[in-house]
C-alpha cells in the first residue's frame, strides 16, 4: 500500500533545488500544498455529493486541476522541510447505525468492528503544532439523546461487522472495536450505538489503523452504560504501535448513554 498518507512528505525533491507543490490523498480528501515566499498554502478538496474520486475520467480530471481559489495561507517562522499528516479520530462521538440491527441477549457479549473515517491533521517540520484539522469524509450531523440536553454527534451507517478481514483496511479508516456485555436482565436491540471516538487513541500495525478497544457494559435503560476505554489495541491487533493520542483523553471508566436512543420527537406540530 504505497499511498499510506500518515507519513512525512518532503517539500523538495532529492536534488533539493526547488520546492514542488505537494499533493496527498486521504481517501476522498485531497490535500495540496505549495510554498510561496515563506508562506505555506494549503488547499483541501473532496468530490461533491454523489461523486467518488476516480469515478469517471471527467471527475478525476477536475480534481487534478490546480485550484485557483480556496487556499489557506500560513506565514512560516523559518525554513520548513517536511509536511506531516497525523491521523485523528473525529472530534465528536459517532452514532453508528448497523445496516442490519441485531439483538444482544441477556448475559451475552459481542464484539463489533466499525470503520470510522479519520481526520487529517496537517503539520510542518520543523514544528509540532497542527495547522489544519480536517475530516477525510464529511459525515452528517445527528443528535443523540433528549432534544433539550442531548449531544451533537456524527452519523455513520455501517455494517457493524462481527469480524474484520484484510480488505476492510483503508488508510482513511480506523477500525474501532466495541466489546459489549449485556447485564441488564433483558434483551438489547442494537440499532444505534454512540461510539465516543474522541476519547480513543490510534494504533498502527503495518498499514492497518486501529483504535483502542472500548468495552461497554449495558445495565439497563435507567442505568446508562459503563464505558471503559482500555488504552490498548484490541487483541486482533496484537503488536500494534501507538500512532496518535486521543483528542480528549478521558478517565478509563465513564458512565454514558451508549445504547439509549432518541425518543420520538419528530412528530409534526404547527408550533
Amino acid at each position: 500500500m504505497s499511498n499510506f498518507p500518515w507519513i512525512r512528505h518532503p517539500f523538495r525533491d532529492p536534488s533539493g533545488l526547488e520546492a514542488e507543490p505537494l499533493q496527498v490523498d486521504v481517501g476522498p480528501l485531497r490535500i495540496r500544498t505549495r510554498l510561496r515566499s515563506s508562506e505555506l498554502h494549503v488547499h483541501q478538496s473532496r468530490p461533491s455529493a454523489g461523486q467518488k474520486p476516480g469515478a469517471s475520467p471527467e471527475v478525476a480530471g477536475r480534481l487534478d486541476e490546480e485550484p485557483t481559489v480556496g487556499w489557506s495561507r500560513w506565514a512560516l517562522p523559518g525554513e520548513v522541510t517536511h509536511l506531516r499528516l497525523d491521523p485523528a479520530l473525529p472530534d465528536r462521538p459517532v452514532v453508528v447505525t448497523p445496516h442490519e440491527p441485531f439483538r444482544l441477549l441477556d448475559g451475552a457479549e459481542a464484539r463489533i468492528f466499525v470503520r470510522v473515517p479519520l481526520w487529517a491533521r496537517v503539520a510542518v517540520e520543523p514544528g509540532s503544532s497542527h495547522l489544519l484539522d480536517t475530516p477525510s469524509v464529511i459525515m452528517s450531523d445527528t443528535w443523540w439523546g433528549d432534544p433539550m440536553d442531548g449531544e451533537l454527534c456524527y452519523w455513520l451507517a455501517t455494517s457493524a461487522r462481527r469480524a474484520v478481514e484484510a480488505h476492510h483496511f483503508e488508510p482513511q479508516l480506523a477500525i474501532t472495536v466495541l466489546h459489549m456485555d449485556n447485564d441488564s436482565g433483558q434483551d438489547l436491540l442494537v440499532d444505534r450505538l454512540a461510539l465516543r471516538v474522541n476519547h480513543l487513541s490510534l494504533f498502527r500495525r503495518g498499514y492497518e489503523i486501529w483504535s483502542e478497544e472500548t468495552r461497554v457494559r449495558y445495565q439497563g435503560d435507567d442505568e446508562g452504560s459503563l464505558v471503559e476505554m482500555t488504552g490498548r489495541p484490541p487483541k486482533e491487533a496484537t503488536g500494534a504501535e501507538k500512532l496518535a493520542p486521543a483528542r480528549t483523553p478521558a478517565p478509563r471508566g465513564i458512565r454514558a448513554r451508549t445504547f439509549a436512543r432518541l425518543k420520538a420527537i419528530s412528530s409534526v406540530g404547527t408550533g
Binding site: V95, D141, T142, W143, R261
Partner: protein
Amino acid sequence: MNSLFLHLASDGLAPLSLLVLQATAAGDPAALPSALSLGSLLSPERITVLIRTALVLGLGVPLVYGASRWLNALVAKRYNPQRGLVAGKLLLYPGVILVVVTTLSELGFSLAPLLGAAGIVGIALGFASQTSVSNIISGFFLIGEQPFVVDDVIQVGDTVGRVLSVDMLSVKLRTFDNRFVRIPNENMIKSQVINITRFPIRRADLLVGVAYKENVERVRLVLLEVARVNPLVLMEPEPTVFFDGFGDSAINLRFTVWATKENFVKLKNILQEEIKARFDAEGIEIPFPHRSLYAGSATDPFPVRIIAADVDGSEAPPMPPESAPGTKENTQS
C-alpha cells in the same frame, strides 16, 4: 427647613451650606461674607476633611466599579454571563451606597436624620414612581425565573434580538439589523416571550408545493435525499415529509428537518435552494397560482381576437359584433 438642616450639622465640621444657613437664620445677612471668608473655608480641619473626602471618592468609586467588573467576569466565566451580570450588580449597588454614605459622613452629615428623611422621601417617591418599582420587582422575577439569559435570542412581540443585559429596570436587546431595543421589565413579565435559542436543536418547517401531476411518493424520496446529502441536516430526529393538503394550485407538503441552533438559519436558506435545484434536475414542477376562466361552457374553446398592426401603422379591421364575446381573457398558464 432650617431646623432640618441644622440637625444634620455635626460639631465643628459643618458643611458649607450649613454655614450659610446658620448666618441667614441668625437674621444677620451682614454676617454672610464673614462666614464665607477664605480663612474659614480653608481652615486646616476643613482641608483635612476635603482631602479625606476626595480620597474616599477617588479610591472608592474606581475600586467598587473595578471589583464589580472583576466579579462579573469571574462569575460569567465560571457559570454564565447572566449570573455574572447579577453578581456584578449585587456588588456594585451596595458598594456605591457605601461610598456615598462614607462621603457624606466625612463631610459632616449625620446619617440618622438623613436616613429618616430618606424614608419619608422614599415613600413619596414610591407613590410617584410605581412604574419604576414595578419594573424593579419584575426584574427580580426575570433574574430569578431566568426565562432567558444574556446571549439568548428572544422574540418579544415583533422584536427579535439577542439579549445584551437583564437590568433592574429593563432588558436590553440588540436586533439583527443592529438596533438597540430597551424593553421595560414589566412588559417582559406581561407579554409572551419566545426564547429561540433555549434548546440546542431546532426544527425547520419548509412548505413545498408541487404540481398535481407529480407522484407524491417520488417527491417525498427526492426531498429526503436532499436532506440526506446535506451535512447540516441532523439525521436524528429524522427528516420527514408530511402531506399537508390540497392547495388551490399545488399539492402542499411540509418538509421538516432538524438542525443545531447555530446552523438553523444557514440550513433553511441552503435547503430551499437545494430543493429548487433538485426539483429542476428531476423535472418536478413547482406550480405558481393558476386561474381558469370559462366563457360559460367547460368544453368550448375561447374565441380569440388577434389585433395586429399593419405595416403603415393602422389597426386591423374590428371583428364583427356577433363574434366578439363579452369575456376574452385567459390567464391560464
